[in-house]
């Protein structure tokens, strides 16, 4: 049976080993200050389910499975707390005004990002699992603590 994690707000992360690095896509919306990560690519219809003021999940429209995450207030809060998290920008398509700025798409870079993302998700999963009684602030801190693993 596929591994799932039941965490506060009923967040059910996908089995980490099932993520295909080649399908992960990342977008930074500069006008909204949001970093959006699609685990299975952008083509999977989903809805947004806010968890707290820095994290939302993307859930499949039909199955409710989590298919991605959004880091809200990315520059205002996330990067302020953890300057290393700027590494997200290396792989993100940046959306600003009427323009989309695409990243270099070298296969090695994408694979590297995928590996970092999987590591981060593992840390996030541990944080959520350990924090079932945590307040929203504690939960946010735990998510922040997970982000440095992307920068290793």
């Amino acid at each position: 049976m596929a591994e799932t994690v039941n965490v506060p707000h009923k967040v059910m992360l996908p089995p980490l080993d099932s993520l295909d690095e080649q399908t992960i896509e990342t977008f930074y919306d500069a006008d909204l200050d949001e970093m959006v990560i699609h685990f299975y690519g952008r083509d999977r219809p989903h809805y947004v389910d806010p968890v707290n003021n820095v994290l939302s999940t993307l859930n499949d429209l039909e199955t409710d499975e989590i298919v991605g995450v959004i880091f809200n207030r990315f520059l205002k809060l996330v990067i302020q707390e953890l300057p290393e998290s700027r590494i997200f920008f290396d792989d993100a398509t940046i959306l600003t005004g009427e323009h989309a700025l695409y990243p270099p798409t070298a296969g090695s870079a994408k694979r590297s990002f995928g590996n970092r993302l999987v590591s981060s998700l593992r840390a996030m999963r541990r944080a959520w699992r350990d924090g079932s009684d945590a307040s929203a602030d504690d939960q946010r801190r735990r998510v922040f603590e997970a982000i440095p693993s992307l920068c290793s």
Binding site: D29, L32, V36, R42, R44, P45, H46, V48, D49, G97
Partner: protein, 104 residues
């Protein structure tokens, strides 16, 4: 591309370039919901003040998805003219504080 009047009499637009950049580029399947965005501008269920912007929430605006809201984020250049800067389905939730319309 879209130009509609909201319940407060303001002209709200969504230029094609914004629709394609901020919505379609990362959610291509949202192309099927363009008319839903128009409906959400004309007939939102509620409007919330959010920092320097406003968020429009519309119930039953998404065909076959009655359990979800359609959320629009709108930026205003002045009191009478706004631009939608993104749109996406949202898990249904209660109106938060800061409701601009309808008045609590």
């Amino acid at each position: 591309m879209i130009s509609e009047v909201d319940p407060l009499g303001r002209q709200i637009v969504m230029p094609k370039a914004i629709w394609e950049t901020h919505v379609i580029s990362q959610r291509p399947w949202m192309a099927a919901y363009l008319s839903s965005v128009e409906q959400a501008i004309r007939s939102p269920t509620w409007i919330i003040d959010y920092e320097e912007r406003e968020c429009f929430y519309a119930e039953r605006a998404l065909p076959h998805l009655p359990h979800l809201l359609l959320k629009l984020v709108v930026e205003f250049a002045d009191e009478l003219h706004g631009v939608v800067i993104t749109a996406y389905p949202l898990k249904r939730q209660k109106p938060s504080e800061g409701r601009r319309w309808p008045k609590p």
